[in-house]
Symmetry: C2
Subunit: 209 residues, 2 copies
Amino acid sequence: MVSERRVKGSGGKRTAPRLTADDWTAAALEAMADGGLAAVAVEPLAARLGATKGSFYWHFANRDALIEAAVLRWERDHTEAVIGLVDAEPDPLARLRLLIGLVLHSTARPVDGSIELAMLATADHPHVAPVLARVTERRVAYTAGLFAALGWPAAEARHRGLLAVTAYLGHAQMAHVAAGSLPTAEADRQRYVDQVILLLTAASAPDRA
Amino acid sequence: MVSERRVKGSGGKRTAPRLTADDWTAAALEAMADGGLAAVAVEPLAARLGATKGSFYWHFANRDALIEAAVLRWERDHTEAVIGLVDAEPDPLARLRLLIGLVLHSTARPVDGSIELAMLATADHPHVAPVLARVTERRVAYTAGLFAALGWPAAEARHRGLLAVTAYLGHAQMAHVAAGSLPTAEADRQRYVDQVILLLTAASAPDRA
DNA sequence: TCACCACTGTACGGTAGCGTACGGAAACAT
DNA sequence: ATGTTTCCGTACGCTACCGTACAGTGGTGA
């Protein structure tokens, strides 16, 4: 789980390699994934890296600076990843389906999702709040753009994008706090995703009796 | 914000009233609303109540016991409140509309919602997790019941209930971390809620070209 | 090779909160 | 009124973590 500080010499002299600021931010995100922001603590982190605080306070002014760096790094890496993953698909409808299916299934695997959950859990932190606000708005805008590309007028596209993103956020939460309430069997899960896509792309006019 | 420890005598002798266990759980929930579970700390709580730890450790074995009591109390009060509020309406469709509208607007006012957000933020805590799981499943089951009463088959009703609840959870999150991404103008907000209700109750078959 | 600089370890003081011990006050029963 | 139970305050030690001071070490260029 933790990348121990490995020796670099091959033969006899085993020397611990020096650490960079990036090593610390990476460790911070790793700690955040399991333990939340509270786990981003200098001394435990140093222990995990096989170093001491003396190293840390060289690279960062204080704990707060580390948090800021880690959170900004997450924003950068994370948004690039998702966009690059979906934007390959040319057809808007297929892209929407790909996005929703991908994102609803992604809550199953833990690694990346738990960082996001940890961020949501600490949304009040002054360094976390603006990042979450940016990421969220970016998602809504992107999803709304997909609906707009499918022909819905701007306002309605925005509303559908909003519903899609809120559904995703809630799905992530539910996978975390009440996994048992979500469909478990693979077939049922697939049907659920299909159903969601269907409802999100349903016609506007009410047509039920 | 905090109910200070008031005197009870009318004239000259001002005596602080004694505290009950319920006073402590109430204060704990109050602290949780602004500050999260971390703010449920014995010494600060005692300060807010104008008492000392000596009092606390008489009523509770330790901090953990207080957390458990507070969280269970929240579960009890909270579920009763919501059910009682909506179950008056006899017509299922009206009840569904009432529920969704109520719940999507509720994220605006802070009091009750912030406790729930705090719980979600600490979902990993051993005392919080089971409560959240129960409350969530209860909501899904209830909402699914509404859709079932409207005529959808059980599986689809469950899926729609699931989507409704995830949308609610995500909405609450978004109101917290990216309020600016949600509709701000009252008219737009109303249209958004209508749109959500429409999509959640849309017919099953895809009918778009 | 040697002086310098980037980096790290050690040692220290400070703060916040948990939990315990115990004496004493306040209510209550008799 | 007085003893008993209930409740509360004070004082203490303990742990975890933050941040600082400073002495060292190892690589690197002159």
